[in-house]
């Protein structure tokens, strides 16, 4: 056990037993505009007269930039400016970077003195159209002096390896080993040590819409307005203002719907900065929209790329004791989010199993590749895969059934603090497993498997029982350091609710707009639940970062919890004022009133009531009908801070609570492998998830199918392949294979 005192259990919410809207699979409020082709995505907002920027990308993985000649490009009719990396470095500062020691691996919107991966931008051309901007790129003459690339992450750690960043003096951007619990004791007492070396290759979100930004710098006011499909970490956008060398209160970043993200639009500042820099330089609105090759080679959001050496200490009866994880993670040329990916892993490092001790060693390595960012799970999903591989291997070595070894180790008492310090608030893993086994017809398939084997066919049955953490805390980005530079703790989310004079409700959101999740539907359902209205009658608007309330946006599976907290808080404030107003209008004591069906009424006297509309019209228009201290209007906001974060211990033997809500899932795929061709056919796929309270079950089911499709892609088809020379071989959808409807099976989806 660790030396720290455990904090109290996370907050338990008591939900109303009967709900009108929460839990209903209503049609999404966002959809009509998308169905009509009126989504208003970033590319749709480009107006005539807007100039277009295009970025010249490096064909070399590692090379010094000897010279850049832009004269011919600048001379082309219709070209307004060409800005090289060196010029950009005078116009802008380094990009916002949460990584370790950023001063020694500075990251800029364009490469300055050398390029560090294929696809890194070296210059940007601004022209009347995208066509002309790309013509201009063809006229830029860059002289490169190629350097030997470093591609393999293990080779990158060897003495004498070429350095991605000379000033850093090493390609190891970060290394740390954490010990949680009595690791050596548990391994010494174990009957069997199961060992494996595992490799998780690089894939990524690849939403069908790339990242883009439309920037409009006003020299009269010094204000820069940017529309972009990547507004998140709203409260941290002052860092982008610093990059652009403008005051934070002169930057307004406004959110627009995004055509998918899966993490890859999380805090993407490079297109924003490029467009902003160009607009300021030419004095006109400028749009920069990544094309597909930009996005695949230069999006800064490739997924995890890990080598694992793992040891699982087991007793002969199948009991798990301890876990040693040694991972090398290939971050590419920069490390913008530090090793937060491994913070995600540590939130659920032991999965759903009773494992007493964990040693976690991570080495974050820099290579000549596009850098890592976020991809669905942010590194936690890789830990899930690694752990389930180890559990299956242990089952084979101990001759145990894969179901049985999991049952023998499930955590069954909650709240449960895992060795890293994080908490599992609740769960019922046996029930999820039972439901998944039934839904998947597990016994049937085991029989089919045996029958097929006798016929020389090969059917495999997969089984995973895994965790899905929810609501990240900022601590996971800095508990890696004994003396963190910026031990921030705020990751809030805000909502403003306004009841107009007719009783209509508008909710204002302050972070990322819609990006395929459905924040508007979710908020509308929650508002409808609180105020007894129709969710399709709730209006949702967004406020950009300027003059907006504190907000963070999606990421770390937090949106529903955080927006729900903000809606609940704003509702409480509005209802308190409405109650007081109703009591005044009804000449009654507030304690004698109750909220029933969209209004306040005297308990037991339903005819003595004021609807929300009755109250709202009075508060908006009849100030003198109320006591002097009552202000006009009916509007309020809630800044909802993280509901439950605890600090790491000074010795980092306990990292505190940083992901306080833990979902659980069991998936059972059945596949047949053609051993001659290697072809895999999915015969059946069942998934059961326990997510707690559901707002819109069909939306969740859609995300389970979609997430599973991406998992199938990662397992069978998708990979960012860099060859030994550092060239990106899969830089189009001809080579980076996204599963089509023929590769994704029909899923059986069960409730938890």
């Amino acid at each position: 056990m660790t030396a720290v005192d455990r904090p109290s259990a996370p907050p338990v919410r008591i939900h109303a037993e009967t709900r009108k809207w929460v839990g209903k699979s209503i049609r999404r409020v966002e959809d009509p505009k998308f169905l009509r082709g009126r989504g208003g995505y970033i590319a749709d907002l480009v107006t005539p007269g807007t100039l277009h920027a295009a970025v010249l990308r490096s064909p070399h993985p590692h090379a010094r930039i000897a010279s850049i000649d832009t004269a011919a490009a600048v001379a082309l009719a219709g070209v307004h400016a060409v800005i090289t990396g060196a010029q950009a470095a005078e116009l802008t500062g380094p990009l916002p970077d949460f990584g370790p020691d950023p001063a020694n691996h500075p990251w800029r919107c364009l490469a300055v003195d050398k390029v560090r991966y294929v696809g890194e931008g070296v210059a940007v051309a601004v022209a009347d159209s995208r066509y002309l901007a790309e013509d201009a790129l063809g006229l830029i003459d860059v002289e490169y002096e190629p350097l030997p690339p470093v591609v393999d992450p293990e080779a990158a750690l060897a003495d004498g390896a070429p350095l991605v960043h000379e000033t850093l003096g090493t390609n190891c951007a970060y290394e740390r080993t954490f010990d949680f619990g009595e690791v050596d004791r548990d391994f010494a007492q174990a009957d069997v040590i199961v060992k494996d070396r595992l490799r998780w290759h690089r894939s990524g979100g690849q939403p069908l819409e790339t990242v883009g930004a439309i920037a409009d710098y006003d020299h009269a006011t010094g204000e820069l307005t940017v529309h972009t499909n990547s507004l998140s970490f709203t409260s941290y956008l002052f860092m982008a203002a610093a990059t652009l060398k403008i005051p934070a209160n002169k930057l307004d970043v406004r959110q627009v719907p995004a055509g998918g993200s899966f993490g890859s639009k999380l805090f993407v500042t490079k297109p924003l900065v490029i467009a902003g820099m160009c607009s300021r330089a030419v004095g006109q609105p400028v749009v920069f929209l990544e094309d597909r090759v930009d996005n695949m080679s230069n999006c800064d959001h490739h997924g995890s790329d890990r080598v694992y050496e793992v040891e699982l200490a087991m007793m002969r009866d199948g009991t798990m004791r301890g876990l040693k994880i040694d991972t090398i993670d290939d971050y590419g040329a920069y490390i913008q989010f530090g090793v937060g990916h491994h913070g995600n892993a540590l939130a659920q490092v032991v999965g759903p199993y009773m494992i007493d001790s964990v040693r976690y060693r991570v080495r974050a390595v820099l290579t000549n590749k596009n850098q890592q960012g976020a991809y669905r799970g942010f590194g936690s999903e890789v830990n899930n895969w690694m752990l389930e591989q180890m559990v299956d291997k242990a089952a084979r070595e101990l001759d145990l059934d894969p179901v049985e070894i999991r049952r023998r180790n499930f955590i069954r008492e909650f709240p449960h603090f895992i060795p890293s310090g994080n908490v599992y608030d609740s769960g019922d893993y046996d029930t999820v497993l039972d439901k998944a086994l039934a839904l998947s017809e597990y016994d049937h398939w085991r029989a089919e498997q045996a029958k097929a084997r006798a016929e020389g066919r090969h059917i495999g049955i997969g089984l995973i029982t895994a965790q899905e953490r929810s609501v990240f805390s900022a601590t996971e980005f800095w508990f890696w350091f004994d003396e963190p530079g910026a031990p921030v703790t705020s990751m809030p989310e805000s909502v403003t609710l306004k009841v107009d004079a007719t009783g209509g409700i508008t909710a204002t959101l302050y972070s990322c707009a819609f990006w395929g999740n459905s924040p508007e539907t979710m908020v509308a359902q929650l508002v409808a639940e609180e105020f007894d209205c129709d969710p399709h009658d709730v209006a949702i608007v967004y406020q950009g970062c300027k003059n907006g309330l504190p907000a963070t946006g999606p990421g770390g599976s937090r949106t529903t919890v955080m927006l729900a907290g903000a809606v609940e808080g704003a509702t409480a404030k509005i209802k308190a004022k409405a109650l007081r107003a109703a009591a005044h209008l009804l000449e009654a004591d507030p304690d004698d009133l109750e909220w029933v069906d969209g209004g306040y009424q005297i308990k037991g006297v339903p005819e003595q009531r004021k609807s929300l509309a009755d109250i709202a019209v009075m508060l908006h228009l009849f100030k003198h009908s109320f006591p002097d201290d009552m202000e006009s209007g009916l509007e309020d906001s809630k800044v909802f801070d993280h509901p439950y974060t605890t600090m790491p211990s000074a010795d980092r033997k306990d990292l505190g609570v940083f992901y306080p809500f833990m979902g659980h899932a069991c998936h059972v795929p059945v596949v047949e492998v053609d051993t001659e061709t290697g072809g895999v056919r999915i015969l059946s796929y069942a998934a059961v998830h326990d997510c707690g309270t559901l707002v819109n079950p069909r939306s969740l089911a859609g995300h389970i199918v979609g997430g599973t499709a991406q998992g199938i892609g990662t397992a069978f088809y998708e990979e960012f392949v860099y060859d030994d020379d550092g060239q990106l071989l899969s830089s189009s959808y001809l080579d980076y294979l996204i599963p089509s409807a023929m590769e994704v099976p029909e899923l059986a989806i069960g409730p938890g």
């Binding site: 049609r27 959809d31 505009k33 082709g37 819609f514 459905s518 199918v705 189009s732 029909e746």
Partner: protein, 178 residues
């Protein structure tokens, strides 16, 4: 400057005359010249199907088609599906079944689904899957899209006979651009 070509393209029943550079892509012509932003750009190399429109009744990738290749053609885009306040049965069933998440592939998927149902008004789910395999969706895993297309097919056969070649009220006006 490259010489421009005069083309006439009929989009959702309206004839448009325009002068375009030979290299202008059809998707850019639709979006930038005609203001029809519903046809989206995804991969820009003809793989993902996001830019799918119907050209003389057949689905094509407008990101790898030049506007001049559409001269004298009839084009249908997502903007031609709904009739005023009334959604097309495919749109309505995509809404009912949550056959979309981010919505970016949706216009292309809807146009491809139109073509599938015009060729086979009563497809099995397997036939729908094979049909929409031309178009990538990164969000949904295709399950609810398949359900939506099958459901719309049923409505279009039984409840709301719908002739895709018949101009709707919204598309009968002939408008010529100078």
């Amino acid at each position: 400057m490259t010489e421009k070509h005069r083309i006439t393209v009929t989009v959702n029943g309206r004839a448009h005359r325009a002068e375009v550079e030979p290299r202008t892509l059809l998707v850019d012509f639709l979006r930038d010249e005609l203001g029809l932003k519903g046809t989206h750009i995804g991969c820009e190399h003809g793989v993902c199907g996001t830019c799918t429109v119907l050209l003389d009744g057949r689905s094509i990738r407008s990101c790898i088609t030049f506007a001049v290749q559409a001269d004298q053609a009839q084009i249908r885009t997502v903007e031609g599906l709904a009739s005023g306040p009334d959604l097309h049965p495919l749109q309505d069933e995509f809404w009912n079944k949550q056959g979309l998440q981010c919505g970016y592939c949706t216009p292309g998927m809807l146009m491809r689904a139109c073509e599938i149902l015009e060729q086979n008004p009563d497809p099995t789910p397997e036939q729908v899957r094979e049909g929409i395999a031309s178009n990538l969706c990164r969000c949904t895993g295709y399950q609810f899209i398949t359900e939506a297309v099958v459901a719309a097919a049923g409505r279009m056969r039984d409840e709301q006979p719908w002739d895709p070649t018949r101009p709707t009220a919204a598309t009968t006006v002939s408008e010529e651009r100078p």
